[in-house]
Amino acid sequence: MIQPLHQTLYELLKQATGFIYPNEIEVHWGILVVVYPYLTGLVAGAFILASLVKVFNVKEVQSVYRLSLLTALAFLIIAPLPLLLHLGHPERSFEIFLNPNFTSAMAMFGFVYAWYLMVVLLLEIWFTYRKDIILWSKNERFMMRWIHKIISLFSTDVSEKSVIFDKKMVKVITIIGIPSAFLLHGYVGFIFGSIKANPWWSSVLMPIVFLFSAIVSGIALVILIYMIVTPSRRQEIDMACLDKMASFLFYAVIIDFSLELLDFIHRLYESEESIKILSDLVMNKLFISLGIIQVLLGMLLPLGVMVAIKFFRFDAELRKLLYFVSAILIQLGIFATRWNVVVGGQMFSKSFRGLTAYKMELTGFEGIFMALLLLVLPFIVLAILVKILPPWEPAPVSDLEAVSD
């Protein structure tokens, strides 16, 4: 374990340019810490899309409301895993809950996460599905029947009064949920933005940029899932729904792009002590991941495509293709955004005199395979959730009548 680390560090030592503090050779937050904000961003984004539907009563997108909620839950369940795996002592992680240091942004993780999971997502999903779960469980076989009975917490009331109450509760939770989703990802941005030692991170805009990039990635993800799952169920893609989601995506990308541009111009104009090394960083270490992938492919190109869709009347098939490609490009771009923040912020010395290097392993806890696994896992969880809580078929009304008889 230690010997390979030293070997890697000796290699990296040769790649470092200029002067770096000797302890800075090891890049401490690697690919796993890139995956973490990417996953939580998807959670927040998917949830905010679901909330838009409820709060502003957007009818077109109603059909993906439940799917968005389940997507948010699936990703939220996996989100802490990369953090846990990257700890030097994962077995002590519970200390964050038992002995939190209240001045630490990271210690708030436990509370923010628990609040979001327990109070917001699980409750909203429970109230959304309660009536359906009860009705489903009536006509099911042993296994599913019990799973649904347990999930419904053995509630049996499907009276009109109780259903109205469910709807009311969903509305209330959504209203609490939107600021909570902002909190969840804004807080992740704050973890980086509040580090005054690091000029690449230290910015009051960081939580807001994180938030809007989260919304962008979340909407794009739900678009992708919807476009893959619907045909596989032999159903027609609802173009009104897709157009509306793409429209939300378009506005979110514009806000995200403006914020990042503002951050860029602000830094350049203020031209503080760190500007030289940060320019070096962007031109050398981050040229491909920031210049090409994040900005060009992940932002400007999809933005151009979506402007074109708004101006010209493409037919449905072409629109579908363009939306699909744009959503993939946006995912790539947002992943690059997380990479540029997390890894980019460690590629320059705090002496502002040199650049370090990062070598990603293939295997091991901090390797590419682990990162890929962590990116695939939420989809597996989502598949299971969709099996248990089908997001597309509200229980037939005839069942309701049968029960009330």
Binding site: H6, L83, T103, K196, F352
Partner: protein
């Protein structure tokens, strides 16, 4: 005559060993009745006196079980070479990496000097602020310490330190840093780096006691701390610090 000389030497030996032994005993005893509230530690670094021998780095690694590889340091020494055209070259003085000695002609050099670095034991420490579990804390006598039985190895403190003074101990998988040799200073001994410095460039002392080498240092020199604009309030202060040092 010879005999008298011998007697004198013997007497000196006996007296000095008794005194020394007594001092050692006292030093050992001090841990037991050591009262942290009566101390507040700091360090002065007389930059001009550093000759870049690296003894402090070696002593620190030996004393504190710091891995020998050149990626882990509780203290290190930087060499600055500023050329007439303004170009600044900085190197970490480490006996193992001397292969890349630069070829700067002496005539091109405007000025050159060494700067010892270590944890600044900030009075307003960002590392303590960000530690999620309170494993890094400030002792009553002002030293920042890591409890390696509580540290979860998240490395947030390493990111938060503006001075690069922390590293992740590869065997313990917990954050590690300079403690002013806390195990020594609470016994009345100086930190290892201070003890071995041949030119006395490092002056360790108690900020609470007025008459001390550190007090004298603070009285005699114009002082500066590293990155004062970050409001970390370092307790390690430098005399004759060049503006190029970050």
């Amino acid at each position: 005559m010879e005999r008298r000389k011998f007697g004198k030497k013997l007497f000196t030996l006996v007296v000095s060993s008794t005194v020394f032994g007594g001092l050692l005993k006292k030093a050992n005893a001090q841990t037991k009745d050591y009262d942290p509230s009566k101390h507040y530690y700091g360090m002065g670094i007389q930059t001009n006196k550093c000759i870049g021998c690296g003894k402090c780095v070696e002593a620190c690694k030996d004393e504190n079980n710091v891995p020998k590889e050149p990626f882990f340091f509780r203290t290190w020494v930087e060499r600055y070479t500023i050329k007439k055209d303004g170009e600044v070259t900085v190197q970490n003085i480490d006996s193992r990496i001397t292969t890349h000695r630069d070829n700067i002609f002496e005539k091109e050099i405007l000025r050159s000097f060494f700067v010892p670095k270590l944890c600044n034991q900030c009075d307003n420490p960002p590392c303590v602020q960000v530690c999620p579990v309170g494993a890094t804390f400030k002792t009553e006598d002002g030293v920042i310490i890591v409890d390696d039985e509580r540290c979860i190895g998240c490395r947030y403190c390493i990111q938060a330190c503006p001075y690069g003074a922390r590293y992740l101990h590869p065997e313990k998988q917990t954050a590690d840093k300079c403690t002013f040799c806390y195990h020594r200073i609470t016994k009345g001994l100086p930190p290892a780096c201070v003890e071995v410095c041949p030119s006395q460039a490092r002056i360790f002392g108690d900020l609470k006691s007025g008459a001390s080498p550190l007090g004298r240092f603070k009285r005699l020199f114009k002082l500066h701390v590293l990155k004062p604009f970050l409001n970390t309030e370092p307790k390690v202060s430098y005399s004759d610090l060049d503006g190029e040092v970050r």
